[in-house]
């Protein structure tokens, strides 16, 4: 076990996966020579050569589209999108090809593509370096989506994604890239996709979160100590969702707040709420509350604290729920 930052854990996973499987390669803008603008891919080119860690032209649809062809040649490409909001050009390839190709080959051909990207706000960055686009990806058939909230999960989920026979998109909370440290198992380490994690046990209310919202939910839980026993459920994988874990927690607490950084409408929190409205209606002691970003463009950073879900907003939702 070493103590690593979140981005170091990602780097560690990449090193191990490239060493383990000679078919894994990393590609993206600035991933090679400089090791990524966040240094997530640092050292890969030196260790594995420039054929396995490729600086591509500046074209996100080109990156993902080329990755489709690489799969056909037997590679397992790990594509970096430099930032969340710059991944949108790749959505066309994602929806029309990456998510569909396996099905169209009658299950005969695999597309073990991993797409990874830093996401989310709070880092005082210029415009469009702050988006939380997971809903676009989650809604897309044929694609899996995972979002780690700790260094260990960042390593383990990325390894799982790379090994998965299907396309997996990993959103990495850039807010915590360098500020969050945690113990991370040495060597190869896999956290299976599709299993949620109870980040903190509690009995009165479940706060459902993922990615950068998990530590926030935990802080809210601490802030509420004495007032309420808050369970924090870290979904880890958004698709496939660990429905059992979700329903089990709600069966226990009967009260749910779902936290998401992305704009509210049609975000992932809606999916969680919809599942509860469908499958846990008799367990619910009150409404399912969503604490989310607002339905506006992610604002300039002097306004971002007002935009982002905060400990205060989560705590407020929990209190409203308890008072219901």
């Amino acid at each position: 076990m070493g103590e690593l930052t979140l981005v170091e854990a990602i780097n560690d996973a990449l090193h191990h996966e490239l060493a383990r499987d000679p078919n894994v390669l990393v590609m993206g803008e600035d991933v090679g020579l400089v090791g990524g603008v966040f240094r997530a891919t640092a050292g890969l080119r030196e260790t594995f050569g420039e054929d396995r860690c490729i600086d591509t032209p500046l074209a996100e649809a080109g990156i993902l589209g080329t990755a489709v062809g690489l799969c056909m040649a037997g590679w397992r490409p790990v594509c970096e999108m430099q930032y969340d909001a710059f991944s949108y050009p790749c959505l066309d390839q994602l929806i029309n090809h990456v998510g569909r190709y396996r099905w169209r080959s009658g299950g005969k051909m695999e597309f073990p593509i991993t797409v990874r990207m830093p996401y989310g706000g709070g880092v005082r960055a210029p415009e469009l370096h702050d988006d939380s686009p997971e809903a676009y990806y989650v809604h897309t058939p044929g694609v899996k989506v995972a979002i780690p909230s700790t260094p260990a999960d960042a390593k383990g989920l990325l390894a799982a994604a790379i090994r998965d026979p299907d396309p997996v998109v990993i959103f990495e909370p850039k807010l915590h890239y360098r500020t969050m440290r945690g113990s991370v198992p040495d060597g190869e380490y896999v956290v299976p996709l599709g299993r949620a994690r109870v980040a903190r046990e509690g009995s009165d209310v479940t706060v459902v979160a993922y990615g950068a919202m998990v530590p926030l939910a935990e802080q809210a839980a601490s802030a509420l100590a004495g007032e309420a026993s808050v369970e924090v459920l870290d979904l880890r994988t958004l698709k496939p969702l660990d429905e059992d874990a979700l329903l089990a927690s709600v069966a226990k607490t009967g009260r749910v707040v779902v936290v998401q950084e992305a704009p509210r409408t049609c975000g992932y929190a809606a999916e969680v709420a919809a599942i509860l409205a469908e499958k846990a209606i008799l367990d619910l002691h009150g409404p399912v509350l969503r604490v989310t970003g607002y339905d506006v463009p992610y604002p300039y950073w002097k306004l971002e604290d007002a935009y982002m879900p905060s400990v205060a907003r989560v705590a407020d939702a929990v209190r409203r729920l308890l008072a219901f």
Binding site: A73, S105, D166
Partner: protein
């Protein structure tokens, strides 16, 4: 990078324009090319009939595009990959794919699925131009593995306007991917004429911006297409990277069965094109060389017709697909919810 602006041509017109020859092609090759042209022509003409008879759905006609497909593929080895658009839907036939498979695709039946690796033919690309990066990736991926295979991506004049064409071509150029960018310039994108598609003087000019050499060929001349592609393939295998081929032709049929070009196309120009269509021109060439006696022509045509009869029968014999196939192959390991969805669907279907 060299852009050849002149249209390459091998087949003459039987009058003032003399026939040429392609070095290395013997009579057997010429007859094989003929057989393939007739096969695709027959596929296309029968498909139109099948569509009218309600046996297949909407269909993208490729009449007079056969020479581009046959000529280009004949320059490949079986290890090389083909990335077709809907306009090359039956190109797999040239690689031994059963015609029933392609008919099934147009029938909207999962029997139209194939494993691209079985024929080295990618799935038919329906969105415009998005398969160009796939082809670049495959070609590059093969090169990275030290394999000698190359790839050909087929796309239309309209496709050159899409960002995906651009990004794919640029990647291929930078990565020196062994790729042939084969542009079927039939001068129309549905109802949009070439001059509304680009202000470039020729489509081959686009190659310059990617540092890729280009050639232009008469798209109705199977031999010229073959020869140009063979050169491009040789460059690719020699590690010299991609080549852009602009095959110039004219869409002499509707865009697809749902299209009525009478609104936008000049019928006289279409008539002219139909007179110089690619299969007839190659027949003339073979006749002038004494290679195509009437019996042979009938035999080849008859075999193709028979193949199509059997293919449509086979396609129609496919039982309706089980609803399970909605779910079966979306993921390697389908999520638990799919079992539930399928069970519920079966129950509802049984009740109904």
């Amino acid at each position: 990078m060299r852009v050849e602006r002149d249209l390459r041509r091998v087949i003459g017109d039987g009058e003032s324009l003399p026939d040429g020859e392609v070095e290395g092609l013997d009579d057997a090759d010429l007859l094989e090319l003929y057989r393939q042209l007739v096969l695709l022509r027959t596929y296309d003409e029968r498909s139109l009939v099948y569509h009218r008879q309600g046996r297949i759905g909407t269909y993208a006609i490729f009449w007079n595009h056969e020479a581009m497909q046959v000529g280009a593929v004949y320059a490949l080895s079986d290890d090389d990959w083909i990335f077709p658009s809907y306009r090359e839907s039956a190109i797999g036939l040239l690689r031994g794919m059963p015609a029933a498979t392609v008919l099934s695709w147009w029938r909207g039946h999962p029997a139209g699925w194939w494993n691209p690796a079985d024929y080295n033919v990618a799935s038919i690309c329906v969105p415009i131009g998005t398969h160009v990066p796939h082809a670049a990736g495959l070609a590059w991926g093969k090169k990275l593995r030290g394999e000698s295979a190359c790839a050909v991506a087929f796309f239309g004049d309209g496709a050159t306007s899409e960002g995906s064409f651009h990004e794919g071509a640029n990647f291929a150029g930078v990565l020196k991917a062994p790729l042939v960018l084969f542009c079927n310039n039939n001068q129309w994108a549905i109802s949009t004429p070439l001059e509304l598609q680009t202000a470039a003087e020729t489509l081959a000019d686009k190659a310059v911006g990617y540092g890729i050499p280009a050639a232009r060929v008469d798209g109705a001349d199977v031999l010229a297409v073959y020869e140009a592609t063979r050169e491009a393939v040789a460059r690719a295998r020699a590690g010299e990277g991609p080549t852009f081929i602009e095959a110039v032709t004219y869409r002499a049929a509707p865009h697809a069965t749902a299209d009525d070009p009478s609104v936008y196309i000049d019928p006289a120009r279409v008539e002219e094109e139909r007179r110089r269509e690619c299969v007839g021109r190659f027949e003339g060439y073979l006749r002038r060389r004494g290679l195509l006696p009437d019996e042979l022509r009938e035999q080849v045509t008859g075999e193709a017709a028979q193949l199509m009869r059997e293919a449509i029968a086979a396609a129609e014999a496919e039982p309706d697909p089980d609803p399970e196939l909605v779910f079966a192959h979306a993921y390697a390991a389908p999520p638990a919810s799919f079992d539930h969805d399928l069970a519920e669907l079966r129950r509802v279907l049984a009740d109904g």
